[in-house]
């Protein structure tokens, strides 16, 4: 079963050109572990009951066809149809409710060392890291978290309802305009996971995703420190074209005059695992394609097409963006 799910997940990943796990059944987080156990308990319980009912059906249809006395039939209905389901459902409900505090550990969330603010937008994710010490760090379409540490996520939406979900790490949580929802996650294994938007949010809903990267705490801290300062390539010549063609009025790139806040922050876009909110591999070619015709790659996105620019300029901008490590 697990293998089948992995196989289908793998083929989907190949189709989307994205490398990373997304199965609920391969948990890599404390919450997802509980959800996976709940799934297997429910599945095996359901399978046992189903087999029992089918066996009883076959038994009475094939092997024991004599009529039951009315009283014993009533007794079977009372015990098998009323008492057994009531007690079983009561036990399953109690088990699921007992899991709830562990799945939504809000009590500890206030003491989390790291808070990540994620805002859903049509059709990308704005991400701000707020460590307990140090300045906030802005990013987009990628969430990195330290393994073995509890992280608090503050979830918001700027336009319509989105839903935040990293299947191998935990359950879903909606992002609702005007509300701030909280989610707390703890990765237990390092890896790259895919997070889809889990609530229909418009034309490119299916193309709205992000990658979640669980890293060793030390590597995470040095990564975060590097993200807080402008990328080394930020001052290079390709950046001049970026600014001249007006990209900076929507995008922010630290260390340059690009100060727009409408589109994703591109300060370290070259270091991300994907571009276009989880749909394209981060290659120069993909970046150039996105700049030229974002409307083809992501219908309904607010970024206009820039295919009127000389191809050489698009290439230079793409190369410069890839260099923002």
């Amino acid at each position: 079963m697990g293998q089948y799910f992995s196989l289908s997940a793998a083929s989907l990943l190949l189709a989307s050109g994205f490398a990373g796990a997304r199965s609920v059944l391969e948990p890599a987080g404390a919450e997802a572990q509980q959800i996976a156990i709940l799934f297997w308990v429910m599945l095996s319980g359901g399978a046992v009951i189903w087999l029992g009912v089918v066996a009883l059906l076959l038994h009475s249809a094939l092997f024991n066809r004599r009529r039951l006395a009315e009283q014993s039939a009533s007794r079977i209905i009372l015990w098998g149809g009323v008492v057994f389901p009531a007690v079983t459902l009561c036990a399953l409900l109690a088990y699921a409710l007992w899991l709830m505090p562990a799945l939504r550990p809000f009590a500890q969330a206030s003491s989390a060392a790291l808070r990540i603010e994620v805002t859903g937008r049509q059709f990308w994710w704005e991400v701000v890291y707020r460590p307990s010490r140090g300045p906030p760090v802005a990013s987009a379409n990628e969430i990195r978290l330290p393994v073995g540490e509890r992280v608090e996520l503050t979830l918001k939406s700027a336009d319509v309802i989105h839903s935040f979900w990293i299947p191998p790490l935990g359950g879903k949580m909606d992002m609702i305009p005007g509300r701030t929802n909280r989610l707390s996650l703890m990765a237990t294994k390092s890896g790259i996971f895919r997070g889809p938007c889990a609530e229909y949010c418009g034309t490119s809903h299916a193309l709205m995703a992000f990658s979640a990267v669980a890293m060793e705490p030390e590597a995470f801290r040095s990564w975060l420190a590097a993200q807080a300062i402008p990328a080394e390539g930020a001052g290079a010549s390709g950046g001049a074209l970026f600014l001249r063609h007006g990209c900076g009025s929507c995008h922010f790139v630290a260390g340059t005059d690009a100060r727009g806040l409408i589109g994703p922050d591109l300060s370290h876009v070259g270091s991300r695992t994907t571009v276009g909110a989880g749909i394209l591999p981060n290659t120069e070619d993909a970046v150039a394609r996105f700049i030229a015709r974002p409307d083809l790659i992501k219908p309904g996105s607010r970024m206009p097409a820039f295919d009127m620019l000389p191809p050489g300029d698009i290439r230079a901008i793409a190369a410069w963006l890839r260099g923002l490590q």
Binding site: A86, L93, A94, L97, W98, P101, R104, F106, A107, N181
Partner: protein, 126 residues
Amino acid sequence: MRLIPKEIETLWTLFTAPVVWVVHFLACYVGAAIYCAKPELIGLSFSAVRAGIAAVTVIALSLIALSAWLAWRQWGFGTDDPPHDDPTRRDRTLFQGFATLLLSGLSFIAVIFTAMPALFLTGCIR
């Protein structure tokens, strides 16, 4: 004044248990929602909310048990087997008693399911 009411024939007794279920459901959910939205309005801790839910649950289950007992009595304590489908006054009474008994059973389980989260939740979310 008698403690247990005399047997009365009215359709209203049929609804007693589901109505208790409805009132209990609203008390639990509306109570918890108001407390979590405005804790300072009530000024009590969450364990007081849980205790309140426990209290209304005990009351609701007692009322439903009473309704079930009255229905059982109306059903003649199970002397006759269903279906009670003869066009007689006796069968009508037995049918009503039996239906009320079944509804009481359903409401009893539903009230337990409604109250169960209070056993496990220890605080408001957010």
